[in-house]
């Protein structure tokens, strides 16, 4: 229900705001143009609506429910969805709806910090490798290669095994396994942009290499980083759920979606709602981020521009 009304609003307000696009004399920054492109993409808009919805749910979680996510016996055990318990209850009588709503907080926070961490360290290492080249590049790239040689979830399990199972450590593990993805992306982008003529022109103006790097090379590599970050957001949430499912993430009472899945998997036939709702939530969030990511890629890809 919620998703239908905003779509209509978007449609009606669209044409009015697009008028400046026709007026060619106005300065159109590449970012503005990307924004217009993004607004034309229906899938991306749906993705944005889904994610906005989940963010709002996460923020206003306590207002949406009268139960506590860890309250045992809020209702009878394994009751099917009804007026009191919209998504039913689990084997300990906890309200599934409440747990999903609070779980959104955990998933989004884990996704945000894991992606931020991976982005900051990955970008930094990628810049070092791409800009300095030679042995620095050799060293950093080989580490990335080694990390990427492992299946990412296996590496995450290994890291959590070393650090000890907890939500924080799962977050750190997810951040670490995503570093090489950003690192390699930034490195290749830096290398290709270094060869651009405007970088040569900047050098010919006598600009310092630090300024060239941070004012010209980095801003021009930002578009694919944004796309990757959005897509990684979805993957990170999925990985957090996987670690939770394996019992390597959040511990017992925490309403983490992956953990909820694994706790209820024995009731998949007798009480399918205990598994369906967390599973469906994970799917929706990941789908939302992927849709935004794809939309951003189309909007930011300079080759698509006319």
């Amino acid at each position: 229900m919620e998703s239908i009304t905003p779509t209509k609003k978007q449609r009606t307000s669209g044409p009015e705001k697009q008028d400046p696009n026709i007026d060619k004399t106005e300065a159109v920054s590449p970012w503005k143009e990307a924004y217009w492109q993004l607004r034309k993409n229906k899938l991306a808009i749906i993705g944005i609506i889904i994610i906005t919805f989940f963010i709002l749910v996460a923020i206003f979680a306590p207002l949406l429910t009268s139960y506590s996510p860890t309250e045992v016996g809020a209702g009878e055990r394994l009751t099917s969805p009804n007026a009191d318990h919209w998504f039913g209850t689990d084997d300990l009588g906890r309200d599934t709806f409440t747990r999903i709503v609070f779980g959104a907080r955990i998933s989004l926070i884990v996704g945000f910090f894991a992606v931020s961490g991976a982005l900051v360290f990955g970008t930094f290492l990628g810049i070092l490798a791409g800009y300095f080249g030679k042995w620095v590049d050799m060293f950093i790239s080989r580490i990335f290669d080694i990390m990427l040689a492992f299946p990412s979830i296996l590496l995450a399990i290994a890291i959590v095994a070393i650090l000890g199972p907890s939500l924080e450590n799962a977050l750190i593990a997810i951040a670490i396994i995503n570093i090489p993805i950003f690192g390699r992306l930034v490195r290749s982008k830096v290398i290709s942009i270094r060869e651009e003529e405007y970088i040569m022109a900047a050098k010919a103006q006598g600009m310092k290499s630090g300024r060239i790097l941070f004012h010209h090379v980095l801003p021009n590599s930002v578009a694919p980083i944004i796309v990757q970050a959005t897509l990684s957001f979805g993957t990170a949430i999925l990985e957090a759920a996987a670690l939770g499912f394996l019992g390597l993430g959040a511990s017992a009472p925490t309403p983490e979606w992956g953990k909820m899945l694994s706790d209820s998997r024995q009731f998949i036939q007798s009480a399918p709602w205990t598994v369906l709702f967390p599973g469906f939530s994970i799917m929706l969030v990941v789908l939302g981020f992927n849709m935004i990511g794809d939309g951003l890629r189309d909007a930011l890809d300079p080759k698509m521009k006319t």
């Binding site: 060619k24 004399t25 300065a27 159109v28 920054s29 590449p30 651009e196 003529e197 405007y198 040569m200 022109a201 900047a202 050098k203 010919a204 103006q205 006598g206 600009m207 310092k208 004012h215 010209h216 801003p219 021009n220 300079p302 521009k305």
Partner: protein
């Protein structure tokens, strides 16, 4: 008599590749006088661009490296004149000279501007790089520069992005950036090659105007003899990394001496020509470093004789300011010196 602002002496820029050392620029000497336009002409791969990059200290390293010679740049300090060797100077000092005293514009105006920033931002960046200016002053100066290079609606253009301008406009912006700090020498590496003919003429006119009004010496690198005829005071003809002929533009175009220069001029289309095919010099430019002994042009030369394959000719001064690297003029050259 005009004094030189830039002197290139015995410059050698080599590239170190897997297939060995390649001398892209091999013992090249020339000078640029103050306020003049010097053309460097030659086919692709003859070392024109590498020469210009060597002056700017922008030869990609690795694989390229300046292995010998000097690039003297005249520094005016009050009444005193001092020459600085751009090959030996520290990177920090070289950065101060780049853009400030020696500026460069490139062949591809479409990609020479950063697509993410406004024209104004990029001109202001160039200004602030070498001068202390407040935001307001810098913006005012940027608008003045845009007007200087003949772009209308300067107040609007400052806030526009490169993709909103045409190629010719962008090259004008590049010139504005290059002229931002009033350089003594402007190096133009094929500035009009990527533009269509009418825009070419406009850009050349603009550069000529700046040369006359501001007294900026221009080092014009081109393969287009038409550009040379229009713009240059003196010409240096390069072939396979070496200077083969040097002289003022009239002498070179009216009475070229070196067989290569003759061939180049002969291969120009003439307006009354009735022949179906244009003349072309037989053969291709040799790969740099592939000819070890003798004259590098020998294999393609129409007036070749035995000696050409055995010895490398020296640059002979034929008359005041006109020199040529060819055995044909050995006697004349000697006579000229007596």
């Amino acid at each position: 008599m005009k004094k030189p602002v830039l002197e290139v002496n015995h410059l050698k820029t080599h590239f170190f590749t897997d297939r060995g050392e390649i001398p892209a620029v091999d013992d090249v000497s020339f000078h640029v006088n103050e306020g003049e336009v010097l053309g460097i002409v030659g086919e692709s791969g003859c070392g024109k661009s590498v020469t210009s990059l060597s002056i700017m200290g922008l030869v990609p390293n690795p694989p390229g490296k300046i292995v010998g010679g000097e690039i003297l740049f005249r520094e005016q300090k009050g009444d005193k004149e001092a020459f600085e060797d751009l090959v030996k100077v520290k990177p920090k000092r070289l950065r101060q000279i780049r853009g400030n005293q020696v500026a460069m514009i490139f062949q591809e105006p479409m990609t020479s501007l950063d697509p993410l920033f406004t024209i104004g931002f990029q001109i202001i960046e160039a200004l602030k790089n070498h001068m202390k200016l407040t935001k307001k002053e810098a913006r005012k100066k940027a608008i003045e520069l845009i007007q200087l290079v003949g772009i209308p609606r300067a107040e609007q253009i400052v806030d526009e992005y490169p993709h909103q301008l045409s190629g010719g406009m962008r090259q004008r912006v590049m010139i504005a950036i290059a002229m931002a700090c009033d350089p003594e020498v402007l190096i133009a590496d094929e500035p009009t090659t990527a533009l269509d003919v009418t825009i070419q003429a406009q850009i050349l006119d603009l550069m000529k105007k700046l040369n006359k009004e501001k007294g900026t010496a221009i080092l014009m690198i081109t393969h287009d003899l038409g550009v040379v005829a229009e713009m240059c005071d003196r010409v240096v003809v390069m072939y396979a990394g070496k200077v083969v002929e040097e002289g003022d533009v009239r002498t070179i175009l009216k009475s070229p001496k070196h067989p290569y220069t003759k061939g180049l001029i002969q291969s120009l289309p003439k307006i009354h020509q009735r022949e179906k095919r244009l003349y072309s010099i037989p053969g291709n430019v040799p790969k740099p470093g592939s000819i070890k002994t003798g004259c590098r042009f020998a294999a393609r030369c129409s007036e070749v004789f035995d000696k050409c394959y055995e010895e490398d000719p020296n640059l002979l001064e034929l008359s005041e300011g006109h020199s040529c690297r060819c055995f044909l003029y050995e006697k004349e050259g000697e006579v000229a010196h007596v």
